[in-house]
């Protein structure tokens, strides 16, 4: 017992001093006003929180984050489900290739990927060249620094978080259920719509929540590809703290971001407990931010 405490205390002490204490201090700061850090009196209040929902600039960043989150979630669903389905029914080579292509980008720094998209979306970049060559457009499109650029890059970043849970659900489906439906005379299309899709709904739900969770806190890609045009919660926090110098306002937004994150996590937890399925991709949180 004594040994156990001795072994555990360094890590616990470390995480307490470097995470829990600073977080509590951040919480404290979020109730102060802007002057507090410049020597003003400590006058706790909910002013920053009221402001976060009242001030159109902050409110816009919250609305943008949720809208972009919803769009990216739908996009990853539309691309991720077919891909997961193809992986689950394909032969070894194709399945392995698709899995590697899904997983490998996770290990490449998000800054590098953001830089890649800057080249892709440039006025003279490959995307515009392709569209012009195909005759879709005459003049190069301004894609970089628009919401579309951020959405495409986030979809690329977060696809693994959709593909992996959906794939796990698909693999968990008992093949005899499908056989039974076939034997009883269902058409392929009906089996797909009424057996396969309902059975992998846990994968859909968890995948969607994971994707949304990451969009909530995403910073690097909106900052690189949206520049100042795209305001999201995370970029707003950074701007308030590091550029405007209004730390308490940033702290309040950070606490709001934390609460949103916790809400999504508890939803994931509730679903995980209600439905039995492989939750392993959950362990990947944090990688993509």
């Amino acid at each position: 017992m004594k040994q156990r405490v001795l072994f555990l205390s360094p890590a616990l002490l470390f995480i307490t001093l470097l995470l829990f204490v600073p977080f509590v201090y951040l919480l404290y700061l979020s109730f102060m006003d802007q002057d507090y850090l410049y020597g003003g009196p400590a006058l706790p209040g909910f002013g920053n929180y009221v402001e976060a929902f009242r001030n159109p600039v902050y409110w816009e960043s919250i609305v943008n984050t949720f809208r972009i989150g919803a769009t990216v979630t739908v996009a990853t669903l539309l691309i991720g489900f077919p891909v997961a389905y193809i992986i689950s029914v394909s032969g070894k080579t194709l399945a392995a290739t698709l899995t590697v292509v899904t997983v490998l980008p996770l290990f490449v720094s998000v800054v590098v990927r953001g830089f890649g998209w800057i080249i892709v979306f440039g006025r003279e970049g490959p995307l515009n060249a392709l569209l012009q060559w195909a005759g879709v457009i005459d003049e190069p499109l301004q894609v970089l620094y628009t919401e579309a650029a951020v959405i495409i890059a986030l979809t690329h970043l977060l696809l693994p978080f959709m593909v992996l849970p959906v794939l796990a659900s698909l693999r968990a489906i008992d093949k005899s259920v499908i056989d039974a439906a076939m034997v009883l005379g269902s058409r392929r299309r009906d089996v797909f719509l009424h057996v396969i899709i309902p059975l992998c709904s846990p994968g859909f739900v968890v995948g969607s929540l994971l994707v949304f969770l990451h969009v909530l806190a995403t910073f690097v890609l909106p900052a690189m590809l949206g520049s100042i045009n795209i305001k999201m919660i995370a970029t707003m926090i950074y701007q308030q703290v590091m550029i405007v110098g209004n730390v308490p306002a940033g702290a309040a937004l950070a606490v709001i971001l934390f609460v949103f994150t916790m809400l999504v996590f508890s939803l994931i937890g509730a679903i995980k407990n209600r439905l039995t399925f492989d939750a392993s991709p959950l362990r990947e949180e944090g990688r993509a931010r």
């Binding site: 890590a11 891909v83 292509v101 290990f107 080249i119 490959p126 690329h156 949180e285």
Partner: protein, 257 residues
């Protein structure tokens, strides 16, 4: 249909990386893909640029120290949690894994404010400590699985045959955990080496890391130098992932088990 969809997906997933690699070989000072020619000029320039070299050295030092620290803390905690059993095990594990559920931006901001409050200047050490916070959940998880994968009878046998607890840990447990320790260390290194958001709050001009250098650079200029640097980073990531999958098998690749 299946083939077309797969091909489109592969192109989409690979395009930003392939394009970065391609643009790095451009001979002129223009960022474009496909490159007009093949040249190693930009690689040469990156490898001789003191700003990039300093950033690489910082990233390497911070990565290595954060790896050592998070593996040591993780080893002790994982062993106690796996073998100690007892009450509060789930709760303690939850606490140690909590950096995963708190947005990195919030962690970085909170740490920066705390340091400001205590009048501590940000330097390489504070960066190492901050990175260790986010590496720790990964090492704890991987090493916890590593200890659990060991047949406890081997340790019992060693104890029964007269070895001390400490001797058993050093001569039986640790050697059996070799693969999970290597995997945990590589994972921690990659997490630290790639980190952008926490570093953004905690670096200054003298402690720039590679991701921050890239991030700042592209804000002001776009030339193939960053493509060359990014290419080096992509190759490095591939090597580390390859080694991880060698030592612990792709299926055991830590979080993606």
């Amino acid at each position: 249909m299946k083939k077309i969809l797969s091909a489109l997906y592969i192109v989409f997933m690979c395009s930003p990386l392939i394009i970065v690699i391609g643009a790095a070989f451009e001979p002129q000072e223009i960022l474009r893909f496909p490159p007009h020619g093949v040249s190693l000029t930009w690689f040469e320039r990156v490898l001789h640029d003191p700003a990039f070299l300093d950033a690489a050295a910082n990233s390497l030092v911070v990565g290595l120290l954060a790896t050592v620290l998070s593996v040591l803390l993780g080893l002790l905690a994982a062993y106690a949690l796996a073998r100690g059993g007892g009450r509060y095990r789930e709760a303690i594990l939850g606490l140690l894994l909590s950096p995963l559920v708190i947005p990195e931006l919030v962690i970085g901001l909170a740490l920066l404010q705390m340091l400001t409050l205590m009048n501590v200047a940000t330097d390489l050490l504070t960066l190492v400590l901050a990175h260790t916070v986010i590496c720790l959940p990964y090492t704890v998880r991987l090493l916890f699985n590593g200890v659990n994968a060991i047949n406890e009878n081997l340790e019992s046998a060693s104890l029964l045959l007269g070895a001390s607890r400490g001797g058993t840990i050093v001569r039986v447990t640790l050697p059996l955990m070799k693969n999970s320790i290597v995997a945990a260390a590589l994972f921690a290194f990659l997490i630290s080496f790639d980190n952008t958001v926490i570093s953004l709050f905690l670096v200054d001009a003298s402690t720039m890391t590679l991701p921050i250098t890239i991030y700042n650079y592209v804000e002001f200029s776009l030339d193939p130098a960053i493509a060359a640097l990014s290419t080096i980073l992509i190759l490095l990531s591939c090597v580390v992932v390859g080694v991880i999958s060698r030592v612990s098998g792709l299926d055991n690749m830590g979080p993606r088990k």
